[in-house]
Symmetry: D2
Subunit: 146 residues, 4 copies
Amino acid sequence: MTPQEIADACARAMHVEDATSRSLGIEISEVGPGSARLSMRVADKLTNGHGLCHGGYIFILADTALAYACNTYDQRAVASGASIEFVAPAQVGDTLVAQAVEQLRAGRRGVYDIRVTNQHGALIALFRGRSATIKGTLIDNEVEKK
Amino acid sequence: MTPQEIADACARAMHVEDATSRSLGIEISEVGPGSARLSMRVADKLTNGHGLCHGGYIFILADTALAYACNTYDQRAVASGASIEFVAPAQVGDTLVAQAVEQLRAGRRGVYDIRVTNQHGALIALFRGRSATIKGTLIDNEVEKK
Amino acid sequence: MTPQEIADACARAMHVEDATSRSLGIEISEVGPGSARLSMRVADKLTNGHGLCHGGYIFILADTALAYACNTYDQRAVASGASIEFVAPAQVGDTLVAQAVEQLRAGRRGVYDIRVTNQHGALIALFRGRSATIKGTLIDNEVEKK
Amino acid sequence: MTPQEIADACARAMHVEDATSRSLGIEISEVGPGSARLSMRVADKLTNGHGLCHGGYIFILADTALAYACNTYDQRAVASGASIEFVAPAQVGDTLVAQAVEQLRAGRRGVYDIRVTNQHGALIALFRGRSATIKGTLIDNEVEKK
């Protein structure tokens, strides 16, 4: 398998178990080694106490992009921490896109930057996440389950 | 009104518009000037690609605690950024508690630390959020709507 | 003046008052609108309790790059906060380079990413800093002092 | 040795190699298991381009407090990352105090919160640092060197 094929297979394996993405309508548009692009439409139920998209759902979209990007090498990894800057509000009906780019991958540790933009290309949030690999693979796991 | 009464009235006003807390079953246990304690049961739909509570929902709980804590002075405030350390996984069925404590309130700016623990008192996440005040009050808003 | 000339003039005005850069041997290699590249040789006095460059000096280099990058519009700005990931140790004698890139500039707020690398191009640290504008300009200030 | 005696011995071993603290006049006032209190007078050479204490030196003080606090168990540890909120400026002549409190210690990982205040008790900065243990001890090391 090529690195791209491995990344694609990992994303499929991740998605099988990924109840959060399904319940929020998060779509996995594209993955590659160390990268991922996801999108999510802001549904009514995602609003906060000020009538805008709850920042927590913007975080979830970015955090999910981190999860897919750091799990593209067939080595399970989890987020160990993250920081987010909320730049502009997102409105109900907006389609948000999260693009994850790998900044560091060394030993068990990874750092990924995710930019969240809306359908007009406006910056909504900047996210930096840290990952740590754990035991286990993804593709084997997918096969075992069959 | 006492500071505690103001905090309680702000929380009620916040909750009216707070679709996220209702849809996730987040309960506002207690607020005070600059503080808030919230709880959330980890439902099945909150799981991630590894079968555990998606870190994003732990973030949402903490971020919601930040929102309630920084909106206890009848001056609207929003989160401008946050960082989170994921310490231990949360399981389906766990009840998570987020306790927000004010570290700083100066000018338009606030900093709040939120500890998320489970029903056994084990630390699940450490969150530090920043708030900025915006125009508008909460209690007046509640009255206007009547 | 062009934006580049303004950036250069701001950097000169900053440098006049910048005792820290002089005492640490930080050189301002290049600035542009929203960007800056600085370098610093790791001197003996910058070591920590483990015999390596103290992480705090890596932070200072990055933080100084932030300061120069966010002060390139002739509008004074200061760092309001920052986060840093220490990736690899720096040794005495290394020459570190910090490259600052603007991620956001909106209203009074800016976000800048700084990568610190050594003379071999190895990544030493990832830094993300936030700036806030304050009253005052830089170039006028320089003129007033003459 | 009691935990307090171990902490004290670790701090002494750290200090022997700690050129940074000596050159900046950082004093180690007190350590305990997981905690440390340090102080530093803001000297002229620590000023930045705006005539105030360079935020980087406030970071160094806090980062050094982190280093002493996470090295109190006779297990070498290093900072892996940190975030800082700059709250108020520090002036030349101020005496800054950094108090480190352990928030988490699990496996190889630690999280420490450091508050930096001035001689009037005013909050200057909030710092949260992450540590990771590495191979080696401190007290043995001290003995070996004799």
